[in-house]
Symmetry: C2
DNA sequence: ATAGGCCTTCCAATGATGGCAAGGTCAAGA
DNA sequence: TCTTGACCTTGCCATCATTGGAAGGCCTAT
């Protein structure tokens, strides 16, 4: 199987397959006489594993650990679960962070009339420093 | 004010201040006789604006637009609100995406007993392709 | 005078990916 | 057999925002 076919079959672009090989994430592929990379079903399965892990947000560094466990028949499932749990926590942290950004922006946007006038609480907030949300809330409720 | 003081006062690192200057996001700072950059309160305020915008997840490209509106006294607040709304939508998209990843992982982790045995539905799923979640659910409910 | 803490510029790396260019190869059709 | 188009190869550059380091100049206090 050529790299293009392996790419189609795995969902990993040819570019990325070469990249993963260069970084050592996957072993160096076999070559034909003229230097074309050759892939077996096993290798395609490994690529699909990587693709799916990326889709779940795992950084390549963690995928390396996951692959090692995948290959290790005497692994402990606890180790896999721990990696998954860490990833879940990382995702949760980011979600909370973005949720906070979103809510802050939503409050500001709600307070902006959004017409032709120049007055805009969003710009006022951005120009006024890091505690402005609280300040703004206090100001609003204080009035 | 030196760049170090401006950095402390604005929350933007000296490194980033120089970078923003080099990319044209902020105007070139004044210089002392020996070439040190000098900053006024106005410029520090602009840096704080940038910092706060970054904290809300705006890409630098959008901050450029926000800064332009900030400076433009004949702006329409509608333009600012639109930028904020787009940012909110972008954040929401990413949140949903990460939420989906998290839930998928949570299902998988829940199904993994996490002990010393090697059997692990997480690894099975990662190795089995993109539709495995649905497949897995069907398998479980079908049994 | 010297130490250390600033400042300057330039260069490089991050992580995962896409894009482009120049050149070799293969298969099918004229 | 020759050509064409689709594939492969390597290598370099770009992204995005940020950090780090190296090499060298300046300023202040001891």
């Amino acid at each position: 199987m050529n790299i293009g076919e392996a790419a189609k079959a795995s969902g990993v672009s040819a570019k990325m397959i070469r990249y993963y090989e260069s970084t050592g994430l996957i072993p160096t592929a076999g070559r034909t006489g003229v230097g074309y990379r050759v892939y077996s079903d096993t290798e395609v399965q490994m690529l699909r594993f990587i693709r799916r892990s990326r889709d779940l947000g795992f950084p390549v560094e963690k995928i390396e650990e996951l692959l090692a466990l995948w290959r290790d028949r005497s692994r402990h499932s606890a180790d896999v679960k721990r990696l998954a749990q860490e990833q879940i926590e990382g995702l949760q942290r980011k979600i909370i962070e973005m949720q906070a950004m979103k809510e802050t922006l939503q409050h500001l946007a709600d307070a902006c009339c959004g017409d032709m006038r120049p007055d805009c609480p969003i710009l006022v907030d951005l120009g006024s420093g890091p505690n402005s949300i609280k300040d703004h809330a206090l100001t609003r409720f204080g009035q």
